[in-house]
C-alpha cells in the first residue's frame, strides 16, 4: 500500500511538471496550428542552461528558471513568425511544410546539441538536491515537490493570463477562430510570435526542472516531444484544459508501469496507449480536439 501511494505521488508530481510545457504546447498549437516537434528540444536546452548556470557560474540551478524564460522566450519570439509564415504560405501543402519545418528544427537542435555536448548526461544541481520530505508513510525528494508547486504556479499564472486579461481573450479568440479574431482587430501575426515565445519560454523553464529532477542529455528530447504528443492526443489537439488532466495521467501511467512492470516497459506502455487512443478516439479522450 505504501508503495502504491508512493508511486501515485511520484506520478502526480512528475505529471505536474509535464503539464506546464504541454499546456503551453497546446496553446501554441491552438494559435499557430503547428504541431511542434521541437518541444523536446526546448526542454533539453532549458536543462542545459540550468547545468551551465551551476557548472560555470556556481549558482543555484533554480536561478536558471527566469533566465530560461527570457532567453528562450526571445528565441521563440524570433522563430514563431517563421513558422507562422510557412503555415500560412501559398505552397501546395502548408500544414505539411510547417510540420516538416518544426521537425527540421528539432533535428537541428538535437544534432547541434549532440555535436556540442556529446552523449553525456548532465545534472542540474540545486540547494535542494538530495533533500527529501516525509509525508506520512511516503518520502519524496524535496526537489520534486518544489518543482511541482512551481509548475502549478506557472500553469495557474497562464490560466489567469488567458482568462482574466484582454490579451488572454485575444489569444483565446484567435485559437477559436482566427478570421473573426483578425476582423476584431487582433494582429494575428504578432500574437502568434508572442504565443510561440511564451510557449518556448515556459517549455525551457520546465526543462530546468526536469534537469534537476532527472538529468538531461540531447537524446532525451525525443522523449519529451513524445510526452507532449501523448498529452495532446489524449486531451485532443489544442485543448488547454485537457492537457492538465492528460499530463497528470501520463505521469501516473509512467510511474506505475516503471514500478510494477519494469522501467524498460514504460515507453512501450506509453506508446501503445498513445496509439490505441489515436485509433479509438482521434479527437482525444475528452473529445475536445480540433
Amino acid at each position: 500500500m505504501d508503495l502504491f501511494l508512493q508511486t501515485l505521488l511520484n506520478g502526480l508530481l512528475i505529471g505536474g511538471v509535464i503539464a506546464t510545457f504541454t499546456i503551453a504546447f497546446q496553446l501554441a498549437f491552438g494559435v499557430l496550428h503547428v504541431i511542434d516537434f521541437a518541444v523536446g528540444g526546448w526542454v533539453v536546452l532549458g536543462g542545459y542552461l540550468g547545468y551551465y548556470i551551476t557548472a560555470w557560474l556556481g549558482l543555484d540551478g533554480f536561478l536558471a528558471i527566469p533566465l530560461a524564460f527570457v532567453l528562450f522566450g526571445a528565441l521563440g519570439y524570433l522563430i514563431g513568425p517563421v513558422l507562422y509564415n510557412v503555415r500560412n504560405s501559398r505552397t501546395a501543402r502548408p500544414e505539411l511544410m510547417a510540420l516538416a519545418l518544426s521537425f527540421g528544427l528539432f533535428t537541428l537542435l538535437r544534432g547541434g546539441m549532440l555535436t556540442a555536448w556529446g552523449f553525456n548526461t548532465r545534472n542540474v544541481t540545486t540547494a535542494l538536491s538530495g533533500e527529501s520530505l516525509a509525508i506520512g508513510p511516503v518520502t519524496v525528494p524535496l526537489i520534486r515537490v518544489v518543482a511541482a508547486v512551481f509548475a502549478a504556479a506557472i500553469a495557474g499564472g497562464l490560466f489567469l493570463f488567458l482568462y482574466r486579461t484582454r490579451y488572454g481573450l485575444a489569444i483565446r479568440a484567435t485559437a477559436e477562430n482566427r478570421h473573426n479574431a483578425a476582423l476584431m482587430g487582433v494582429n494575428i501575426g504578432r500574437l502568434s510570435a508572442n504565443v510561440y515565445g511564451l510557449y518556448a519560454g515556459i517549455t525551457a523553464m520546465a526543462g530546468v526542472l526536469m534537469g534537476a529532477i532527472y538529468s538531461v542529455n540531447p537524446e532525451v528530447g525525443l522523449r519529451y516531444t513524445l510526452f507532449a504528443f501523448f498529452v495532446a492526443v489524449l486531451a485532443g489537439l489544442g485543448s488547454v484544459e485537457g492537457a492538465l488532466v492528460a499530463a497528470l495521467l501520463l505521469g501516473v501511467i509512467e510511474a506505475f508501469v516503471s514500478t510494477y512492470v519494469g522501467a524498460s516497459y514504460s515507453l512501450l506502455a506509453i506508446f501503445t496507449t498513445l496509439f490505441l487512443v489515436l485509433l479509438i478516439s482521434p479527437r482525444g479522450i475528452l473529445r475536445r480536439g480540433l
Binding site: L101, F103, G104, F271, L278
Partner: protein, 330 residues
C-alpha cells in the same frame, strides 16, 4: 507514335543508357569500399522512393516508415537464424507477406486520421515496435541478432540495384502513368472532392500504404543480410525514417526522380562527413539544417528546379518502351 524517336526521346534514351551502363559497370570498375557506398546510395534512393509513394503522392506523412524496414530486416534475420535456417531467397517473400499483413492491420485504422494525427500515430507505431523488439527475448533484445555472413559485395549491389530499379519502375508506372496514380493525386489534393467523384479513397490509401510498406521491407531484408547484424536501433530507429523524409523533401515531394536525387545526395554527404570527421552527430545537425532551408527556400525540392523540363525526356522513352501513354500524357 512516330517510328523515329524525337529529340527529347533521344536525350532520354542517352540518359537511360548512361544510367544502365554506369550501374552495370560499377561492380567491375571500383573497389569494394566504393561499391559498398554505391549499394548504400541505392538503398536510400529506394527507401526514399518508398516513403514518397504515400508521403509525396498521397500526402500522408508517415513518420514510422522504419517500422516496415525493420520488419523486413527482422523477419529475414529470424528465419535465417537457428531453428529455421531458411535461404535468403525464401525470407524476402516471407518478410513481404508479414509486412503486408501488418500494414493492412495498421493502415486500415490509422489512415482514417489526417495530417498531424496520422504522423503521430505512425510514429507511435514505429516506437512500439522498437520498444517491443528491445524488451522481448526472441528478437535478441537490445543486443540484436546476427545473420549468417555472406561476403559478396557484388551480390548485395545487384540485389539493391534490382530492387531500386523495380521500385522506381513501379512508382512511375503506378503513380505517373495510370488511373491509380490519378486517384492518389486526387485524394491528396482534395480528399472530400475525390470521394465525391466516386473514388474509394480508403481503399486507394490502403493500397498505397501497403505498397510503400512492402517496398521498404524488401530493402530492410537485403540490408540485414548485407550488414549481417541488426539490433532494434539499427533497423527500427527513428533516424531511418528521418533520413527518408529529408531525402524526399530535399529532392522534391511527389516527384519521380526527387527521392533519387535527394537520397543519393544526402547519402554521399553522410559518407563524406563520416570519412572526414567520423562524426554522426554532426550529420544530424546537417540534416536538420537541410530541412529548414528546403522548407523555407526550396519547398518544391531540387526536382522542382527542373519542373518545367523535368523528366519528360526520360518519361517519353519509358513510355515508348512499354508502349503506353495513358492518363493525360501530352
Amino acid at each position: 507514335m512516330a517510328l523515329l524517336p524525337t529529340n527529347a526521346q533521344w536525350r532520354g534514351l542517352v540518359l537511360l543508357a548512361i544510367i544502365i551502363v554506369v550501374l552495370g559497370a560499377l561492380p567491375w570498375t571500383v573497389n569494394n569500399y566504393w561499391l559498398r557506398i554505391a549499394t548504400g546510395a541505392l538503398m536510400w534512393a529506394g527507401l526514399a522512393c518508398s516513403w514518397n509513394m504515400l508521403g509525396g503522392y498521397a500526402g500522408y506523412i508517415n513518420f514510422g516508415q522504419s517500422a516496415f524496414f525493420g520488419l523486413g530486416a527482422y523477419v529475414t534475420a529470424f528465419l535465417m537464424g537457428d531453428p529455421f535456417g531458411l535461404p535468403f531467397s525464401a525470407t524476402i517473400p516471407a518478410g513481404m507477406v508479414v509486412t503486408a499483413l501488418c500494414a493492412v492491420i495498421i493502415g486500415a485504422p490509422t489512415l482514417r486520421l489526417r495530417g498531424a494525427y496520422f504522423a503521430i500515430a505512425t510514429w507511435a507505431f514505429a516506437e512500439v515496435l522498437i520498444q517491443f523488439a528491445s524488451a522481448m527475448d526472441f528478437t535478441g533484445g537490445i543486443g540484436g541478432i546476427g545473420l549468417p555472413p555472406y561476403l559478396n559485395e557484388r551480390f548485395f549491389y545487384f540485389a539493391m540495384v534490382g530492387t531500386a530499379v523495380l521500385t522506381y519502375f513501379l512508382t512511375w508506372a503506378l503513380f505517373e502513368r495510370s488511373r491509380f496514380g490519378l486517384k492518389v493525386k486526387a485524394l491528396r489534393d482534395h480528399e472530400p472532392a475525390a470521394e465525391a467523384m466516386g473514388i474509394n479513397t480508403a481503399l486507394v490509401k490502403l493500397q498505397t500504404f501497403v505498397l510503400s510498406a512492402v517496398t521498404a521491407s524488401v530493402f530492410g531484408a537485403i540490408f540485414a543480410y548485407w550488414v549481417t547484424f541488426i539490433n532494434p536501433k539499427s533497423v527500427f530507429g527513428g533516424d531511418i525514417t528521418d533520413q527518408m523524409v529529408v531525402m524526399v523533401l530535399l529532392g522534391g515531394l511527389g516527384t519521380l526522380w526527387g527521392p533519387a536525387i535527394g537520397g543519393v545526395a544526402l547519402f554521399v554527404v553522410n559518407r563524406l562527413i563520416w570519412m572526414y570527421w567520423g562524426d554522426t552527430a554532426f550529420y544530424i545537425a546537417i540534416l536538420g539544417t537541410a530541412i529548414v532551408l528546403v522548407v523555407l527556400f526550396l519547398p518544391n525540392g531540387i526536382a522542382g528546379l527542373f519542373a518545367r523540363r523535368k523528366n519528360d525526356a526520360l518519361d517519353k522513352v519509358l513510355d515508348k518502351l512499354i508502349g503506353s501513354g495513358e492518363g493525360g500524357h501530352p
